[in-house]
């Protein structure tokens, strides 16, 4: 194999998920009626914004060698908190501010505070009390959703304040601002992971926690920060979800956890920790959203969609596994 061929192959493998995305988009555009339209592509990007943001937090924790199963419930709690305070109908209290735009930062701070608090709680139990991350965050997945149910009584809040809904309606270059917020999150956190000490240390911890500790790096503090960040970022996803649906219901966000894991794995993050980059995760989220949109347009019987969805996700994950194998052979 010539050096040039090797370089090309490595480039393709490093960005395989993006190539997969292009191939999938091309295939769907060719075979699914009405798929190849600017409006559909804009929908795909918009629909991936909540999942994409949620996947960032999950990826951080997985790269650090742990996992967080609570992200979906945290997003739901954040959405419900925003809904209850800022919605005008249902169980919404319709709180307003003067000037009106203050509702935006207040709602955001409320969301982030809720999420970061849950994340911090998870982090302390896992890092300081040395409990298993799977068990702790699984319990959080259950009790946090329970809080959503308890505070809402199963009822909905709808009619989100127009000043907050503005982010879903206002468009820039054909995309709603919620999509741009998701893109900005990926840019910021990709920079943090690639160019800052925190990001580098997180990867090192995921690769070998003991060695990182012995190198004098404050492993506990970094891990707790990662869990708090995961909670805060999941809450941001919840904020975007409330904006997208103009309110909140008790079961909002159900099913997102599986898709977030799929986006992270397809994006090239290793579940063993220590390996992965966030741009790939965004491509994974876009890929899942493309598949979802194709299913919406295919005209399949409603009872078949889940099977097709699962098989397509499996195919995407298998391709990623194939990439890992090829990489090992190249090495």
């Amino acid at each position: 194999m010539t050096p040039r061929t090797r370089r090309i192959l490595e480039f393709v493998l490093d960005n395989l998920v993006w190539f997969m995305l292009l191939v999938v988009l091309a295939a769907f555009s060719a075979f699914v009626p009405n798929y190849f339209q600017p409006g559909i592509f804009a929908n795909i990007i918009e629909a991936s914004s909540v999942l994409g943001v949620m996947s960032i937090g999950l990826a951080l924790v997985i790269i650090a060698g742990h996992m967080d199963l609570s992200v979906e419930s945290v997003a739901a709690l954040s959405a419900m908190a925003v809904g209850i305070v800022f919605c005008t109908s249902g169980i919404g209290l319709g709180v307003t501010f003067t000037p009106e735009w203050l509702a935006v930062p207040v709602s955001l701070v409320l969301s982030l505070a809720v999420g970061a608090a849950v994340g911090l709680f998870n982090g302390i139990l896992i890092v300081k009390v040395k409990m298993n991350a799977f068990i702790v965050t699984l319990a959080s997945y259950i009790w946090v959703r329970g809080i959503v149910l308890a505070v809402s009584g199963g009822a909905s809040a709808q009619g989100l304040a127009p000043v907050i809904r503005w982010f879903a309606i206002q468009r820039l270059l054909g995309l709603p601002l919620t999509a741009w917020i998701a893109i900005a999150c990926f840019v910021v956190f990709s920079f943090i992971m690639a160019k800052t000490k925190f990001g580098r240390h997180l990867v090192m911890i995921g690769g070998n926690q003991n060695a990182t500790y012995r190198a004098g790096i404050k492993v506990d503090r970094i891990l707790i920060t990662a869990f708090a960040l995961a909670g805060g970022i999941a809450a941001l996803a919840g904020w975007l979800l409330a904006i997208r649906t103009s309110g909140a219901t008790a079961n909002l966000g159900t099913g997102l956890l599986f898709n977030a894991f799929a986006a992270v794995v397809i994006g090239g993050v290793s579940l063993k920790g220590g390996l992965g980059a966030l741009p790939g995760v965004y491509a994974g989220a876009l890929l899942l959203s493309s598949i979802n949109t194709a299913i919406n347009l295919m005209g399949l019987p409603p009872t078949s969609t889940q099977v097709i969805h699962g098989l397509l996700v499996l195919a995407a994950v298998l391709l990623d596994t194939f990439k890992q194998t090829l990489r090992q052979r190249l090495a």
């Binding site: 009822a155 809904r165 997208r244």
Partner: protein, 346 residues
């Protein structure tokens, strides 16, 4: 130490003595197995049944199955062991609960089917609006709306189902489509909002609006799905009335959307009447007395009791809510429970 223990035991004994008179006044405990509390109809049903059963002298205890069939089956087994006066069941899976219903009835515990009709085995009583009938009412309204817009029943309808594993939504779909089959010029696109999750409905609406911009009517199987659909329409620059909307179950969010001009029709399930019917007949159910077929006034609604293969069945009519009657307090979505006390039927 001994004194402290004796004091604690004494307090407990007093507490138990205070509690037991409350149980002694009740005619008995009734268990309500609700499929989920993530839906306003179901949470509304809990408070309605609690209120009406208390009026006729029964105490209600609710267990939530969280949409899991195996959980509800376990709950049935546990409740049978407690030997309650009766069990009210809104089944997660209509067929999977059949053995549990037979076990309870075999143990002498009457089982009442609430809202979700189980026809494969005998129950003591069934109180329903009828999910297929809800689909029929929705089809009647769709016909009217399409005719008003297009001059005849023709056009394109986007039907957004709930979770495709839920027999409840499949029955509504069945009722809707079997009636709409009479109109060959109506094309129906049916897609499921997985796990009844609102943002999935929003995504479906957003995608279909691009792929099929000539959609005339969007029919969602629950009012909370319509909220996300409206959000998608708004984001696409639509105004109230640009596309006709309809949903079913009658939740408060649906009525709010009618008032705001987005939703044309909400097909209501008569929650209060369904719950009141259970309470009104509970004495007969517990006593295993005959329930005679006929018409009964249930809080102002005409309930028709018939003898079916699955036992006595009361059917209460669903209603189509629109702008002209949206504020009527009889609709449960206005959250104004009836003030008249429910009385046991003699």
């Amino acid at each position: 130490m001994k004194r402290i223990l004796l004091s604690i035991l004494g307090v407990l004994a007093v507490a138990m003595a205070l509690l037991t008179p409350a149980f002694a006044q009740s005619k008995g405990k009734v268990y309500y197995l609700v499929p989920t509390l993530l839906d306003e109809f179901q949470t509304g049903s809990v408070s309605a049944l609690e209120t009406f059963l208390k009026q006729v002298g029964y105490e209600l205890q609710t267990l939530n199955a969280d949409n899991k069939t195996d959980v509800q089956q376990s709950q049935m087994n546990d409740v049978i062991a407690l030997k309650p006066a009766a069990i009210i069941l809104a089944a997660v899976d209509f067929n999977a609960l059949q053995p549990s219903i037979e076990a309870a009835m075999g143990a002498g515990i009457p089982v009442v089917e609430f809202d979700r009709q189980i026809t494969s085995t005998k129950s003591a009583f069934t109180s329903v609006a009828g999910t297929i009938e809800i689909g029929h009412i929705a089809a009647d309204e769709a016909e009217k709306l399409l005719t008003a817009k297009n001059g005849s029943p023709k056009g394109k309808v986007l039907q957004i189902l709930g979770d495709p594993g839920d027999p409840y939504t499949l029955d509504i779909q069945k009722g809707f489509e079997e009636k709409m089959a009479a109109f060959p010029d109506v094309k129906i696109i049916s897609l499921p909002a997985m796990q009844w999750e609102a943002s999935n409905a929003g995504t479906i609406a957003a995608d279909q609006l691009v792929a099929n911009p000539d959609i005339d009517l969007i029919f969602s199987h629950a009012a909370h799905l319509s909220v996300a659909v409206v959000a998608a329409l708004e984001a696409a620059g639509k105004q109230p009335g640009d596309i006709m909307l309809m949903s079913s179950n009658g939740a408060p969010v649906g009525l709010d959307l009618i008032r705001k001009g987005w939703l044309n029709v909400e097909v209501e399930q008569p929650l209060y009447a369904q719950a009141a019917a259970v309470a009104a007949f509970m004495d007969k159910i517990v006593a295993k007395a005959e329930i005679k077929p006929g018409e009964y006034d249930i809080i102002g609604l005409n309930g028709v009791v018939t003898d079916e293969a699955w036992g006595p069945n009361i059917k209460l009519p669903g209603a189509a809510i629109d702008k002209s009657n949206v504020d009527d307090p009889k609709f449960w979505g206005n959250l104004k429970p009836p003030t008249d006390t429910v009385k046991s039927i003699e």
